[in-house]
């Protein structure tokens, strides 16, 4: 059984936040208390623990950058030939635009989306790169390839089709 202390520490480490930053994000607790909770010395009550875990949830953009190689590995299992990242139309969290190999099965797109969401623990919209889709065309204007080196390289519009 994972203790609440282990859970809090793991969540913070996944988020990449320091104890101080997490305390500030969660509100109502300070760095010393986060430290006591993570070491299992003090047991936070349920409401406090939930608040900290919520604050420790990584932003989708951060989660994407941290898991690039795993996302590409998921893609390779689902006949995904290319993954692009673009900011959502409202300028908010990122979305993924994927290209599928001609041999892809009908469920590959949804399978990829589900696995990525499970991995990141945050919902990330996944679009299929369809030239006929106006929304996708608009997203492609500011899309960049997701690459293992952190991939913020410029998007080649020709490759996007």
């Amino acid at each position: 059984m994972i203790s609440i202390a282990q859970k809090l520490r793991a969540a913070r480490e996944r988020s990449g936040l320091t104890q101080e930053a997490l305390a500030a994000a969660a509100g109502g607790v300070n760095q010393a208390q986060i430290s006591l909770y993570e070491r299992g010395i003090v047991r936070p009550d349920d409401a406090v623990a939930e608040r900290i875990l919520r604050a420790a949830k990584p932003r989708p953009g951060v989660a994407l950058r941290r898991n690039t190689d795993r996302i590409l590995a998921i893609g390779s299992r689902h006949a995904v030939t290319r993954v692009l990242v673009a900011e959502a139309p409202d300028g908010g969290e990122p979305v993924l635009i994927v290209s599928l190999a001609p041999t892809a099965a009908p469920h590959d797109l949804s399978g990829f989306a589900v696995e990525v969401e499970d991995l990141l623990d945050v919902p990330i919209p996944v679009f299929l790169d369809e030239p006929g889709n106006a929304e996708v065309r608009e997203l492609l204007q500011r899309a960049t390839p997701l690459t293992e080196d952190g991939g913020d390289g410029p998007h080649d519009p020709r490759a996007a089709g």
């Binding site: 059984m1 203790s3 010393a32 208390q33 006591l36 299992g40 010395i41 003090v42 047991r43 009550d45």
Partner: protein, 276 residues
């Protein structure tokens, strides 16, 4: 024909190391797993193993361990913490009461050996040493508890009490658990284990369960270095005095200091006479 003197077996001359030790060790281990580490599955497996090995090794040991196990399972069914909301106090209070009543009732009315007793009125006056020990316990609590509670931060495992109503509930809760500790760990667990093991070994085994329970209650960090010897002392004191009243008095005096430390730790300007 002259009457032969009856020679009672000397408990402390029983061999400590034998197969009979296994069920007792497994029982203690289950306490550590259930309350100390918080792995319910591991705890129940160890408890089951304790009962199975006892059933194979010694039927009477099995019957007594069943009583202790029943209490431990009842306790494990509720969250053990220092929440002083009325609902939680009622839930935890009911479980703790059952954990004592079930072994007592089975021992008295099912087994009919009445091995679990709560000797309140022993008819013995407390000796001078016993009265001095009560003073010593208060001094010990004063010396250790503020340092332990405040330097580690574990006082935060107890609710922040600054209102009279919450203070009264914390006071009642701390004292009720203190009395219950003696009813279950000393008068039930220790007493039943003593029927099968040397006194010192029974005390060592019960102290693991006792201090694990206190860990779950909030005595984290280096708490076991404090609670384990305390549990041993309580067992030893009960063996010496044979008085529930006396060990409860010791415990409640220690808990009184604990209560005052908790109030001070949460409200540093109050009761500002502790050194830490």
């Amino acid at each position: 024909m002259t009457a032969q003197p009856v020679v009672l077996p000397d408990r402390d001359r029983r061999p400590a190391v034998s197969w009979r030790l296994l069920p007792g060790v497994l029982l203690s281990l289950s306490g550590v797993l259930l309350y100390g580490i918080g792995t319910d599955v591991g705890g129940y497996v160890a408890l089951a193993a304790s009962l199975i090995t006892a059933a194979v090794i010694d039927r009477r040991l099995f019957k007594d361990l069943v009583l202790i196990a029943a209490g431990m399972i009842i306790i494990s069914a509720v969250p053990l913490d220092s929440d002083i909301s009325i609902g939680h106090m009622a839930q935890m209070g009911s479980a703790l009461a059952l954990a004592v009543l079930v072994p007592y009732a089975v021992s008295r009315w099912v087994y009919r050996d009445h091995s679990v007793r709560f000797p309140v009125n022993t008819g013995q006056r407390w000796s001078r040493a016993e009265r001095l020990y009560l003073v010593f316990i208060v001094a010990l609590g004063y010396a250790i508890l503020p340092f332990y509670m405040i330097s580690t931060g574990v006082y935060q495992n107890w609710p922040n009490v600054s209102e009279p109503d919450a203070m009264i509930r914390l006071f009642i809760g701390v004292n009720a658990v203190g009395i219950w500790d003696e009813l279950f760990f000393v008068c039930t667990t220790f007493t039943l284990l003593r029927r099968h093991y040397p006194d010192w070994l029974a005390n060592v085994l019960q102290a693991f369960v006792f201090s694990s329970f206190l860990w779950e209650l909030g005595y984290h960090a280096w708490g076991p270095l404090l609670t384990y010897p305390f549990a041993l002392l309580q067992g030893y004191t009960f063996k010496r005095t044979k008085s529930l009243t006396y060990v409860v008095s010791v415990h409640l005096l220690f808990d009184l200091v604990l209560f005052l430390v908790l109030v001070h730790a949460h409200n540093r300007q109050w009761l500002d006479f502790f050194v830490y």
